[in-house]
């Protein structure tokens, strides 16, 4: 594909977008995985959210806010 004398600049712009978006996407995915692991570890230790405890006790929760 011939993009003329400024082809390098055009490709650089598209590459900058791709690199930044991939980095942001990776950060979000890795952060999400780390948080899910932490949450699972807490639950394995028997730590429960307040709302989960109320559900277990069979009482309807007045205002779930986590």
């Amino acid at each position: 594909m011939d993009l003329g004398p400024h082809a390098a600049i055009i490709w650089l712009c598209y590459a900058a977008i791709a690199v930044v978006m991939v980095l942001v996407g990776l950060w979000l995915v890795v952060d999400g995985q780390r948080l899910s692991r932490e949450l699972a570890a807490l639950e394995r230790r028997g730590v429960r959210r307040r709302s989960a405890k109320i559900e277990v006790a069979g009482t309807p929760e007045p205002n779930t806010r986590d």
């Binding site: 003329g4 055009i10 598209y14 930044v20 979000l28 999400g32 899910s36």
Partner: protein, 254 residues
Amino acid sequence: MATLTQRLANPTRFMALSRRLLPLALGAAVLLIGWGLALSFAAPPDYQQGHTVKILFIHVPCAWLAMGIYTMIAISSLGLLVFRHPLADVSAKTAAPLGAAFTFLALVTGALWGKPMWGTYWVWDARLTSVLILFFLYLGLIALRSSLDDEVLAARLTAVLALVGVLILPVIKFSVDWWYTLHQPSTRFTSTLDPSFRKPLWVMAAGFLALFVAMHLKAMRNEVLRRRIRSMTLAATAQANEAAPADASGTAEA
């Protein structure tokens, strides 16, 4: 009876809803950006700018998102300060790094585009400088938030800063009309933009918007998880502290 916003403000409900919406937004982003790229590279060269007009299809959506995301942060901040909406703070906090990323990309692609068109990467003209200030505002929001340990205070102060900073948006929008700038005046997309460039631009803009929605939903889900972990850790620590003095007194009695 709870209003729609009150029902959606529930983090548990948000997590269930976002789990279904996230793949849809991501799928739409991939399809639209793929289509937009095909249209962009098939678009004819501009009679003045040649092929560098292809930078328009990525630079303009980034610039629109840079301003749109800040508007969303300001609305979320208002939601936090006025209605104490729990998800409004999550939304504002998680949108700031994404807004910074899109503003950074608007600045970088604009600077690169400027070299062949203006003969320079950067000039301190009103449009470029006001967008740079917007970028610093995003960094300021992120820095202020992370500099305070008190989550509630950090959220309120950041919301106030976001609302004050919203003044930069009309300056950016009208800078090309109010001052003489090297940046071109506002493009009227239905009259001054050649029809062959309109479709790739709109498709790319829709794709970038879908990508932002997907990333924002993911970032919000992460933040809700982070807050759950924090509250669970605090609860576990409080329980351990309550149990410890009882154990200690039991040992002393023995």
